[in-house]
Point group: C2
DNA sequence: GAAACGAACGAACGGTCGTGCTATTTATTG
DNA sequence: CAATAAATAGCACGACCGTTCGTTCGTTTC
């Protein structure tokens, strides 16, 4: 039987493991995460690490969930402190752009999307749920901006969210492949233009 | 010493190997491409396959180059038959959108971007060169549309290319994670709106 | 103090990985 | 047809993979 953590000590090392695993998976992807490397990084034996999760897949799921939580706390939570409307929508994208800047070594979530987008299994489902939730949060912010009269009433929230995602994805790619500063400037210009074209 | 192909027979099987490797790498990525699987898929021994390339990395480079050629022939070449200007720019994006639709099991290039964007080495360099070239081709089409008077004279070609890429990336992602048809419609709407906002 | 439990270890499993070597078969050429 | 070169097979290697197993060491509970 696997331990799967009961005591506080066990939970603490489990958190430590996930933290190290998150750092590794940001660089090498969830598929590039090996238990051997992870054990070495955390200073434990392979079996010791393994016992905290029933399988490698469960480890990957735990790391992905942790990554989603990190992203939410870094981007969504601060935005929720802003008043509903354009201010919050702007905070979301700014937080997202900053996230891309601050995670230039790799973003776990975006990596996971590429790894599992056309695969079946629990990882794929978890990725879909994660992106879906984030897309919904963005669309909700758009709707609030419409309700506040800060965006045109006929604004299609799903459509606008789609386009915002596009800008962020292009920023993500260009930040890594080309010049990060120029990419940031282009993303902000694109976003401003997008908002302006929907202004009432 | 590796054979590295001289006769026509050798070149033919090398092409066959790359073709199969391309199909595998579309699904599993260039990192997920293993010589053992590839040998089985092509009906050869591991060492027989291996001899056609000096190393796994050279194999990956060859497959990536082949993927770039395929993309170019499927998207760029048809567009070049259109007259310079908006028609060609539209053909480029249409071809790209169709490419996303027709390669729903996975796009080798986009996968390679995720795998090698924040890594050093020849694969990274090859990916950067590939995307850079494609971006330049797109920007060139934009410039021609400006010169033809079909886009506003103050259009920033690099900026517009950035935003077109964003739409395509969002389409790519949504096609795999959510509803492909809806994603296509959203991408086309976004692109039309983008062009309209730059119309003279 | 005994018994139970959670945490972690170390060794080993069967596989697969990329990569060398050495034959052997096959194709091309004189 | 023979000679030569190229293409492929066979085999073995060291390394690493995820996983299982039995065991040990503290801590907690009775």
């Amino acid at each position: 039987m696997s331990n799967l953590t009961a005591t506080s000590k066990g939970a603490a090392t489990r958190e430590l493991i996930i933290e190290r695993a998150y750092a590794i998976a940001c660089r090498d992807g969830l598929e590039g995460l090996s238990i051997g490397d992870l054990a070495q990084a955390v200073g434990m034996s392979k079996s010791g690490v393994f016992a905290h999760f029933g399988s490698r897949e469960d480890l990957q799921l735990a790391v992905l969930e942790s990554g989603g939580r990190r992203f939410g706390e870094a981007v969504l939570v601060p935005a929720l402190r802003k008043p509903r409307g354009l201010a919050r929508l702007r905070a979301i994208t700014k937080g997202w752009f900053d996230w891309v800047r601050d995670n230039r070594q790799g973003c776990l979530i975006m990596g996971a999307v590429s790894e599992y987008d056309s695969r079946v299994g629990s990882l794929h489902d978890a990725v879909v749920a994660l992106i879906q939730r984030w897309r919904n949060d963005t669309a909700r912010a758009v709707v609030m901006a419409v309700e506040a009269g800060e965006l045109r009433a006929d604004t299609d929230a799903k459509q606008l969210s789609f386009e915002i995602f596009g800008i962020a994805l292009a920023l993500h790619q260009d930040t890594r492949l080309f010049d990060a500063k120029q990419a940031r400037a282009q993303a902000e210009r694109a976003f401003d233009r997008l908002l302006k074209s929907h202004s009432p």
